[in-house]
Point group: C2
Chain length 254, copies 2
C-alpha cells in the first residue's frame, strides 16, 4: 500500500466556478457528429435534430475543481465538450483513487442516466467545458427509441468493462505494464474522436493523476516514464505525448 496523502481538498475547491456562456448549438465542436452528441445534434444534412435534450448553455469548471460531487443530486447529465476530467474516490486518510478518465464527448458519469446522484466525485484535470443533457428528455428518448436505449446500455457497459480492466491491471500487472496500458488505452479512446495525429496527442495528465489512477506513487511513475523515454517508447513535449513505439509497449503487457 502507499500512504502518500496526495490530495487535500482546499476550501476554494468546494465551490465550483461556472463560466456561463450563451452559445448557439455546438458550431465547430469536433464532437458534434460523434458519440452521444452525434445522435442528438446531427449536422445540417443529418436527419434528426433533437436539440431540446441538450442545453444551449456551456458551462466550465477550472482545473482541479470538482465538477460533480458524489451523492449530490443533480437533474442533468453533463457531457464534456472540451477538456479532461477524472472520476475519483477520496479516502479518509487523504488518498485518492482515480477510477476513470473522462474525455471529450464522454458523459461525465454515465450512471447519471439512471441515478439522481453520481456515485463518485468527478474532478477537472484541465479546465473542462461541458453542456447539460436534460435527464428527463434522455429517459424519454430511452423509452421511445430502442436504439437509443441500446446505445446507452452499451456505453454504460463499456464503462464497466474499462473499470474491470483496471481491476486486472491493479491486481495482476506491474507498474510498467500499468503505465503502458494506460497510455495505450487513452490513445485508443482519443483515436475514436479523431484527436490523435501521427501517434501524438494532447496529454494533460499530471504524474499525480497517473499515480492515483494506477495505484502508484508520483516518484515511481516518474521513474517508469523515464525508462520509457530512455527506451524511446514515448516522448513528451509541451503537454503533448507521442507514442514512438506502440508495438513494444503492447509487447510488454502480459
Amino acid at each position: 500500500m502507499n500512504n502518500n496523502k496526495s490530495i487535500t481538498l482546499r476550501s476554494k475547491q468546494r465551490n465550483s466556478d461556472f463560466h456561463n456562456e450563451q452559445k448557439q448549438g455546438c458550431p465547430g465542436c469536433p464532437m458534434q457528429t460523434l458519440g452521444l452528441c452525434g445522435i442528438f445534434i446531427k449536422g445540417a444534412d443529418g436527419a434528426s435534430s433533437d436539440h431540446t435534450a441538450l442545453s444551449q448553455i456551456e458551462r466550465s469548471t477550472a482545473a482541479r475543481r470538482l465538477i460533480l460531487r458524489s451523492n449530490e443530486r443533480i437533474n442533468s447529465v453533463p457531457v464534456v465538450c472540451r477538456g479532461w476530467a477524472a472520476s475519483a474516490e477520496y479516502l479518509r486518510n487523504g488518498q485518492r483513487q482515480i477510477l476513470s478518465f473522462v474525455l471529450p464527448g464522454d458523459l461525465i458519469s454515465a450512471s447519471l442516466l439512471f441515478r439522481e446522484a453520481p456515485r463518485h466525485n468527478v474532478e477537472a484535470v484541465t479546465r473542462v467545458y461541458y453542456r447539460d443533457f436534460d435527464r428527463m428528455a434522455l429517459r424519454e428518448a430511452m423509452r421511445a427509441r430502442p436504439d437509443i436505449l441500446e446505445l446507452f446500455l452499451t456505453s454504460f457497459s463499456d464503462e464497466t468493462e474499462r473499470i474491470a480492466e483496471m481491476v486486472v491491471d491493479l491486481g495482476r500487472r506491474s507498474a510498467h505494464q500499468r503505465v503502458a496500458r494506460l497510455l495505450l488505452t487513452l490513445m485508443e479512446r482519443l483515436e475514436k474522436s479523431e484527436m490523435v495525429r501521427d501517434q501524438a496527442f494532447n496529454f494533460p495528465l499530471r504524474q499525480t493523476h497517473i499515480a492515483d489512477a494506477l495505484g502508484l506513487t508520483t516518484p515511481y511513475v516518474n521513474q517508469v516514464l523515464n525508462v520509457f523515454r530512455e527506451k524511446r517508447l514515448i516522448s513528451f513535449e509541451k503537454r503533448s505525448l507521442t507514442i514512438l513505439n506502440a508495438e513494444e509497449l503492447r509487447g510488454m503487457i502480459n
Copy 2:
C-alpha cells in the same frame, strides 16, 4: 506484481458437465421470494407469476469448471440457485484475476441482459446449480415494464459499483484491509439473502480465490488470515466463517 501461475486450465475443464434435472418451479428455494427471482416467481399469494421467463430445468456445473466462457454467445441469462461462482479473467501468463463473486440469487453475469456474450469467464467455486431466464422474455419485460427496467439498471449499476470499489481496494488499500473488506462485504451480501446466522456463514472460497480476487498470493493471504484468527477477529470451522469482531475489522479499513 506477482507472478504465481495460479491457474492452468486443464482439458477436462474445457467441457462443462451438465446435470439436467426436471424440477417443478423452485419449491423450497430460499431465493424464491428474493431479488430477481422474487419478481418473476412470486409465491402462491403473490400477484404476478410469470414463469414463462424462467426455465423449468435446473442445470449444474461442478466446482472449478467454467459456467460461462467469455465471448461465447448464449441466449439465456442464468441465475444461481445454489452455490458460489467467480467471474474472472485469465492472463496469458497463467495468472487469474477474479472480478467478482457470484452468490445465490445473482445473475451469472448481469451484462448478459444486454449482450449476447459475457465479457468474462465465470467459474464455479462450489458446484453451482442454476436456471436460465430467457433473454428475449427479459428484454420484453424490460420494454413493457419500466419498474423492471429500473430493477435491471440498478442491479447492473450496483455490480459496477462493486467493481469500482475493488479498484479502490487494489489501488489504495493494504492486504489486511483488502481481506477485511472482502469478508465484510461478502457477509453483507449474504445477509440480504438471509444466509447469515449469528455472524456466521458458509464460506466455500479457497485461499486461492481470495488471493486472485485481491491481487495477492496464497501464502500471504494465509498469513493475513492467521493474523485475523490470532486476533480473534474471525474463525473458520468446517467451511463456515464466523466474523467474531466486525467492529474492529471495519475499524482497520481506512
